[in-house]
Amino acid sequence: MKDLKHLIYFENLLDNADNELVEQAAKDGRYIMGYTCYHIPEVLLNVDKCVSVRLRAPRTGSIDISTYYMSNYVCEYARALLERAIEGGYQFLDGLAAVDACSMMNRFYEHFNILKCNEKPHFFLPILDVPYKTEDFSYNHMQRQLEVRLLAAMKEHLGVDISDSAIRAAVAEHNIICRIMQEISEMRKADNPVITGYEFHVLNLVTYTCPKYLILPYLQETLEELKKRKPDDKLPRARVGIVGSEIDDPEFTRMIEDAGARVVFDRHCFGSTPGREVIELNDKEDALPQVVRHYMNSCECARYIADNKVLQRRETADRLAKEFKADGIIYEQMKYCDFWGFERALVSHIMAEEYGWPVLSIDRLYNAKGSGQLRTRFQAFVESLEIKKIQKGGK
């Protein structure tokens, strides 16, 4: 396929957390709000003069110092972020919206404060408590946390407008991005998609890591380009979806596709499900509780312990695999992630035994692109899917 016009530009944007669009936003007088986790509603970090940046640690090399602080059996995403923070890589932030959702990320936030990783005088780092369930009181709990811990702090430290109208404006802007991404995502359902999994991953990541108002023109242009794009003649050998924990490195998706597969859906943190769904607001109720419900209901984090959410995660994976005509599912987890470690081990069996999907179950490091072992496993999985297809055809 012909290269996308802005692909290299997007890739360059992903080379730094503090990319040129983030710098531009800061120059425009915007406040940069960092976050890492879907439990924090992204739209709330885009109210008024704020812009959200979902934190990554691109081009991570040694993580020795953070390993000293956090030890070595700990999520490499958390360690990579801490290493980058200690190096001064997040000095551009005006605030960091944190959640005590998993112990390792929580400690990253705490170290951010202990080690004074941001010197801006108005910098603030609220840590929110998030529920494990979706009962009525859980929604209230989340809403109160957002009001008391996040929005109030944003108003106090940055002086921004956190009113209902400001939240609605942020949701409107968010929805524009989501509609574009959804339209692009739909293209992946075609038998011979005009977009690769890698390209989609790159596009999706820039929507998380760049100010919305600055990235929007590029996305719109890319959408138009994709509409006219001609796919390769050759069909992918196998169509797979990814389900699991945090992947902010598009090279991981590329590695799967280099093995001959096409990644057709992305149900992982930093993926488009959840994250790029349109938020429908009504006028009868304040925006905040609606936003809270949207994020809590759509959240697919393995931390949600309630039976309905456990089932939802399996059903979502099954639904996406059917909708995007996947041949198999790759269940992945960031190494040392407790939530996804337990979830992956169990659900990879369930998806195979009860839902009938061929499943590849892997754990991986934050910086996984150099892993020959993973590459071999992807190749073997693609081959097994091909064999299954042949056998199915033979019948």
Binding site: Y68, V74, S103, R107, I127, D338, R344
Partner: protein, 619 residues
């Protein structure tokens, strides 16, 4: 078989009548309710027959495959070694002066390393603690056996059957050995207090083992009792059951996984291996891993009316419940999930809502009704127990600490988490221990005679497979552990009159359960709190456990190191893998202390025979 069931039925009916008559004569309620023991079993005798045949086959196969020559050679070698040891001990005794001999005779031996022998699962003999203390120790040994036999005889057949189904049941046969291990080196008042406390724990264990066996579908299959049983995740406190006096709350995995791993270091290995083969990464905490592994190999009884899972105390524990649902899909589950940031007062009401939801769930499933009077009664007892606990701390903070050692450590955790004032008999133990402790303090007794060299504090979670590590620390190096992190929990008196405030207090109590109190809610709860406690207890040495899979603690390693250096404290890091002794053995744990004491403290051991010994496969 049928005749046995009939006879049992008659026996139960008679016992019930007697109980009713007694009930009229006295309004005093017994704990646990005797009716629970008498609940009718529905044993599937055909299945039992099949299982016995299978076990017999396994035994025959084992017998056939065993290397009998090597077995008998080993026995012969041991006999020779025993003779050599006896001769050596006799020789040592003859070389002693009359005063020395009298000292040993009256106050016990001082070199304990010789009790261990490479390749043995138990010590070569019991410790000689001196004439009076050995006699007392033997009396307690007999009392423990008596209690165990009496408790199991309340419904013996299911309990015996379960020993044929579950390998962890066999480990409980060694519980008296566990008692010996935990009291090693203790004498006088310290020994008495330890025995009193560990007795209560094992009475609770024995009673619950009987209930497990009676309820288990494979064994007693008592439908009557199962209706009354509410299962808890073992990491959930039992106090919520105070409002349901007609039900039994059983910490489900406590007996098959958690506690037994303290008794027998090898118990959890098959669980861990099974779940890792299933696909679980090896870096997860061994507690939830073992729980899940026990489910994978079907080592947990199928029982109860419902299950209360929990989000405590860490991420791994949260996830274990989905394995439970997978194994027992017919068991209704309530997920009790408290806010992690428990110091945010605005979250307490949400915790209360969760408790209310849990109560409603139990009511709906079991038909029982929450009883405020009973709840308040139990909490009053729990408050009194907390008062006693605080007195222990006060004494231990003085220059003459009295109540130290593994029995106390276990008792504190068990009482705080599992008993929670439920058992009125425990109050007697508190009173007795308190009396002994104060008298011993007045006499300025040494809790570890001649071995009080350093004041120590334990931080982070201890290794299950080395529950008596603090005992070794005292006996070998004279490091006396005054308090553990896991003991320092919520000590506020719980509300016993206002219902709304009582629920708030209950939420606060749960949020500050063992481990969670420190590892959740922010790093200050474990880092700043440590320095505060070190000052408060005037500790000279910090035993800093490092469970290699505990992410909550491991993620603060650097900060703890940095701040400890700044404060110039002695902190000994001791790695372990909680329930898996293959990763870091007991010997490796001891080596860390030996190294620090020799190189940094330039210290001499109190008992050099304990520096190096082999207990790789010892219970």
């Amino acid at each position: 078989m049928v005749l046995t069931t009939e006879l049992l039925g008659i026996k139960n009916a008679l016992a019930e009548r007697i109980e009713k008559k007694r009930g009229k004569a006295s309004t005093k309620t017994k704990y646990p309710n005797p009716a629970f023991f008498r609940a009718k079993d529905n044993i599937n005798w055909k299945a039992q027959g099949r299982n016995i045949a299978e076990v017999a086959n396994i035994c025959v196969e084992m017998f056939k495959e065993a290397d009998h020559k090597a077995f008998w050679k080993l026995q012969a070698d041991r006999c020779v070694d025993d003779l050599r040891r006896v001769a050596e001990e006799f020789k040592q005794a003859t070389e002693m002066s009359p005063d020395e001999l009298m000292e040993v005779f009256l106050h016990g031996e001082r070199t304990l390393g010789k009790l261990y022998r490479k390749g043995d699962m138990a010590t070569v003999r019991r410790e000689w603690k001196g004439l009076v203390d050995t006699a007392y120790d033997f009396k307690e040994w007999a009392r423990m056996w008596g209690m165990l036999l009496m408790t199991f005889s309340k419904d013996l057949i299911p309990a015996l059957n379960s020993a044929l189904y579950y390998r962890w049941m066999i480990s409980y046969f060694c519980c008296v050995g566990f008692m010996d291990k935990n009291t090693m080196g203790q004498k006088g008042s310290a020994l008495r207090m330890s025995h009193l406390m560990i007795f209560d724990i094992f009475r609770y264990v024995a009673e619950n083992l009987v209930f497990l066996a009676k309820c288990d579908e494979k064994n007693g299959n008592s439908r009557e009792l199962n209706k009354k049983v509410v299962l808890f995740d073992e990491m959930t406190m039992g106090q919520i059951m105070a409002g349901f006096p007609d039900l039994i709350g059983i910490p489900y995995q406590l007996m098959p996984v958690f506690l037994v791993s303290e008794i027998d270091q090898l118990t959890c290995i098959p669980y861990i291996d099974a779940v890792e083969s299933y696909g679980l990464p090896a870096d997860t905490c061994p507690v939830p891993s073992s729980e899940c592994g026990a489910l994978v190999i079907d080592a947990l009884p199928h029982m109860g009316s419902c299950f209360i899972s929990s989000s405590m105390p860490c991420d791994g524990s949260v996830m274990a419940s989905s394995y439970m649902s997978r194994r027992f899909p017919d068991l209704p589950v309530y997920h009790l999930t408290f806010p992690v940031r428990y110091e945010y007062e605005e979250t307490t009401q949400d915790a209360v809502e969760d408790i209310k939801g849990c109560i409603k769930f139990v009511e709906e499933i079991t038909g029982a009704k929450w009883d405020w009077n009973h709840y308040f009664e139990q909490m009053k007892r729990f408050n009194t127990e907390t008062t006693y606990e605080l007195q222990k701390w006060d004494v231990n903070k003085t220059d003459c600490p009295q109540i130290i050692g593994p029995c106390y450590e276990l008792f504190r955790k068990w009482n705080y988490e599992m008993d929670g004032g439920a058992d009125p008999r425990v109050m007697k133990t508190f009173t007795k221990v308190n009396e002994i402790m104060h008298k011993a303090y007045e006499r300025r007794e040494e809790a570890w005679r001649g071995k009080m060299k350093y004041r120590g504090i334990v931080w982070s979670c201890p290794a299950h497979y080395y529950a008596n590590f603090s005992n070794w620390l005292a006996n070998c190096w004279g490091i006396d552990i005054l308090v553990e992190m896991e003991s320092l929990n919520f000590t506020k008196m719980l509300e016993t009159e206002d219902k709304d405030e009582a629920l708030m207090d209950l939420a606060r109590l749960y949020e500050r359960m063992v481990m969670r109190r420190h590892t959740n809610g922010g790093y200050h709860n474990v880092v700043d709190e440590l320095w505060r406690q070190v000052e408060d207890w005037r500790a000279e040495i910090i035993i800093m456990y490092q469970n290699v899979a505990c992410k909550n603690m491991a993620t603060l390693q650097g900060v703890l190191d940095d701040q400890c250096r700044d404060k110039n404290y002695h902190m000994i890091w001791i790695e372990h893998d909680l329930m898996d002794p293959r990763t870091v053995s007991r010997k490796d744990m001891r080596a860390k202390v030996n190294e620090y004491m020799r190189t940094v403290m330039k210290a001499e051991p109190v008992d050099p025979t304990l520096l190096e010994f082999d207990d790789e496969i010892a219970m």
